[in-house]
Amino acid sequence: MKVNLKVWRQKNNNAAGKLVEYGLDNISPDMSFLEMIDVLNGELTRKGDEPVAFDHDCREGICGMCSMYINGRAHGPQTGATTCQLHMRSFNDGETIIVEPWRARAFPVIKDLMVDRTAFDRIMQSGGYVSVNTGSAPDANEIAISRTIADEAMDAAQCIGCGACVAACKNASAMLFVAAKVSHMAVLPQGQAERSIRAERMVAQMDAEGFGACSFTGACSVECPKSISLDHIARMNREYLGAKLTSENV
């Protein structure tokens, strides 16, 4: 099949960028979207042009590295999938495909389709952990955790940190990402000791990074490759308010 690509090209964070058109023939419908970009990059390199820079690593939908805003949607038209899991059979022969980087103040563009998502790491550093030193843990079966709670925690914990929630949100809000971690730790007994301080610090860091507020449009959850539920955002709100009203941190 043939595709007509419009790809965002930007040399670096300071340079101006623009959409550049490329035509590709002989694309197999079985190719993944990233393999299609590989083909484009091969052609560009042979011509002596610079290949398109884009983040990717595991190519099986779990590392969260691949991004790309494709035809107006985070990770493209398929739901519950990352860009590496998107295949060209999802597009029509001859279709024009617009590819842009994630757009958010907190995710500055590094080059072309590649953005800096270290804001997520800083949010995690602000409280996304249980303070337990290596070697000090009790026997794993000493704490019984009901299956429902374990499942609820896992639903949240499976976030891959890709940033599609931010990219899809009209406010570039990171609520779903932060909520997934706050919620994961809040439901588990292991997370109780730092429950309040975690919610307070992670929200404060989220704000400091320049993400927007939540408008509850639900776009984040729809575009999330792991379909993480909005329930977790509600839980974070509850955790945060509860913490602010009752914690000892004035």
């Binding site: 197999s28 990233l34 595991c58 779990i62």
Partner: protein, 653 residues
């Protein structure tokens, strides 16, 4: 010419004497300790932030050392440990089904076809129990029973249920646990993180590892980092085959450059080929996706009996479901009546290759076999099968666009894990003082073949429970003053070496993109140093690799500059190292005149085509020493001593 002269240099494994179960305790007591007040005077460098790297960096920082952690990804959380699906073994014996530390030790040694060190493997089994405790305390949401206690499953044909899991995302959850511990230490100011930074050289002085040279992948800046010790936690080298289940960025560069400074590379030819991957579709393919091994519990593997039927299927003139029962060959069940479809990974893989080589493979490429669930669905109902494998079937359908409930799945083996790696002693130190290798980057625990759910266990064992003890011994020995400044000539020379190589790659200005060399290398490795190897093929491969290397350095095209994000440049450096490693793997495979685990030499098989080990001549670790550009590497051997297990030949008939 294959270098096969045995050097006289003796490799000191440093496995302590004494009864097997007491070795580690005794050793821990014998190790020197660093005074708590002195720990902050030591700087430790950790390269790679997967399970081994993140757990090591966090644990050492908790002790009080100053850490620098490096990864090429944009965040430590993306290291490829994240992709492990199945689970993690631990000898908890929660199921009361006869598991024990000794049984896990025994299974691991046996599964590794008796090519691993007893002492290391026993320690691994011992600390496995603490890993689960640690991870649960961190909040890792392992699967649970209704009563709230941890659930286990049997994995990879094990006789006991000792595998802990978090849905099909165990690696992800364990890595996020280690990453959270690491994040906490970053917040504490004890770890400085360097994401999007790649190690390009090791700095040596006075015979010790003194630090590393890195390239900032965003700005291209070449930087020096000095430390008292350097830990390589950089994973395996499966991407030497180009197509593998590894992440695109997984590479051997850090380990290989350390190798060039004198760290021996052990058993590089030991690679694991996983039987249940989604087959290659076309030459554009960049990556292979693993389907969980558990599928073989219910799926039946078959190909058409006749070549003619297979050809019709390949051409699309016939469908799998059209083929009558008597025209199908359930080759694993036929050849291994007692284990059937559940034979170990290497056996299943090799047999799939044989039937495809005979021309009986399916799919357009002829490189696939069926994994059929029709009988299981008939027996248990679609609901049951869906509950067990629903997410895997969905994943398959997403990639292949084919419904496995209706037509049989197609699978083919793919490179998955490398048992070989940098040679390390019992302390995980390489042959370079101060340089350590952890996790898949070292060779130590899996012998010639790794058991399912054991990679995660080893990565975390090394990082949480081994290195915090052993690195202290070295640091206490050298003292805090024994450190080299980044302004010293050793660092300046190393920086220049790195810059020179970068400039050289950029200035070749040939015609072929880097990927094409990588693909070519991968094909050579897969054809001649893959599931089945012959002396003739390996010799041919060596010549081909040498020619490829020559062409690479005269005809590769790397666009752009150093001073920017330049993925082609990153890849070029990695592929250059893979080419050299490929040659060493071929040498190693040629040297090992036996078949064991993942290494199958066609010359060494039993009458009915099974692997034939040679314990008299090859019960050793083959550790290779780099001697210079285009010089043959020198082989050193470490004899493996088995005091607690009896060496037996595997049989699955």
């Amino acid at each position: 010419m294959a270098p096969n002269q045995l050097s006289t240099m003796e490799l000191q494994s440093k496995v302590p004497a004494g009864p097997l179960p007491e070795k580690w305790s005794r050793h821990k007591f014998a190790l020197k300790l660093v005074n708590p007040a002195n720990k902050r005077k030591y700087d430790v460098i950790v390269v790679g932030t997967g399970l081994a790297g993140a757990s090591a960096a966090a644990s050492l920082a908790e002790l009080g050392y100053n850490l620098k952690a490096f990864c090429f990804q944009d965040s430590p959380r993306r290291a490829h440990s994240i992709a492990a699906q199945g689970g993690i073994n631990a000898a908890k014996n929660y199921q009361n089904d006869g598991d024990s530390v000794f049984r896990l030790f025994y299974d691991t040694i046996k599964g590794g076809d008796y090519r691993a060190r007893e002492g290391n493997v026993h320690r691994l089994a011992e600390v496995s129990v603490s890993i689960i405790d640690q991870c649960v305390a961190q909040g890792v949401p392992f699967a649970r029973e209704y009563g709230g206690l941890l659930a286990n499953r049997s994995f990879g044909g094990a006789q006991v249920s000792r595998t802990f899991y978090a849905r099909g995302q165990t690696g992800q959850q364990l890595l996020l646990g280690a990453y959270s511990a690491l994040s906490r230490q970053v917040a504490n100011g004890k770890v400085k993180l360097y994401p999007r930074t790649e190690m390009l050289d090791l700095v040596m002085e006075g015979g010790k590892a003194r630090g590393i040279i890195t390239r900032n992948l965003v700005t291209g800046k070449i930087e020096s980092h000095s430390g008292h010790a350097v830990l390589l936690c950089t994973g395996g080298y499966g991407n030497v085959f180009y197509l593998s289940t590894n992440a695109m960025g997984s590479n051997v560069t850090a380990a290989w450059r350390a190798h060039k400074h004198g760290a021996l590379m052990a058993n590089p030819c030991f690679t694991q080929i996983h039987p249940t991957c989604i087959p290659v579709k076309g030459d554009y393919q960049s990556k292979l996706t693993l389907m969980s091994e558990s599928l073989r519990n219910d799926g039946r593997v078959w190909v058409p009996k006749s070549k003619e039927d297979a050809q019709k299927i390949q051409k699309g003139q016939m469908k799998a479901t059209d083929l009558k029962e008597e025209d199908r060959d359930y080759f694993l069940e036929r050849r291994y009546p007692s284990f059937g479809n559940l034979v170990p990974r290497d056996v299943a893989s090799r047999n799939a290759k044989y039937v495809c080589d005979e021309g009986r493979g399916v799919s357009k490429t002829g490189l696939a076999v069926y994994l059929d669930f029709a009988d299981a669905i008939k027996r248990d109902g679609q609901k049951t099968i869906e509950a067990k494998y629903g997410n895997l079937f969905e994943m398959y359908e997403k990639i292949v666009d084919d419904n496995p409930y209706e037509t049989p799945m197609m699978i083919y083996p793919a490179v998955h894990y490398t048992m070989g790696g940098l040679w390390v002693d019992y302390n995980l130190m390489t042959t370079i003082p101060g340089l350590y290798a952890l996790g898949e980057a070292n060779f130590s625990d899996h012998g010639a073949n790794r058991l399912g759910a054991s990679a995660l266990m080893q990565g975390l064992a090394d990082g949480y429970f081994v290195i915090p003890y052993t690195v202290g011994d070295y640091l206490a020995t050298i003292g805090p003053a024994d450190k080299v400044s980044v302004d010293s000539p050793a660092f300046k020379q190393a920086e220049k070496r790195v810059s020179d190589q970068v400039q050289r790659l950029l200035s070749i200005n040939g015609t072929k993109p880097v990927d094409e060399f990588h693909r070519a290398l991968g094909l050579i490795m897969w054809d001649y140093c893959g599931m089945s190897r012959t002396a003739e093929g390996l010799k041919k491969a060596k010549v081909m690799i040498q020619a490829l290397k020559k062409e690479f350095w005269t005809n590769v095209r790397v666009t752009g500059d150093n001073e920017e994000m330049n993925q082609a440049l990153e890849n070029a450096g990695r592929v250059a190292d893979f080419i050299e490693l490929g040659e060493l793997m071929v040498d190693d495979a040629l040297n090992r005149e036996e078949s064991c685990g993942g290494h199958f030499r066609e010359e060494h098989q039993t009458e009915d085509g099974e692997a034939l080990r040679n314990d008299d001549d090859y019960a050793y670790v083959a550790a290779w020493e780099y001697t210079g550009e285009n010089q043959p590497e020198v082989l050193h051997t470490e004899e493996l001593v088995f005091e607690n297990v009896k060496l037996t030949q595997r049989s699955y008939k």
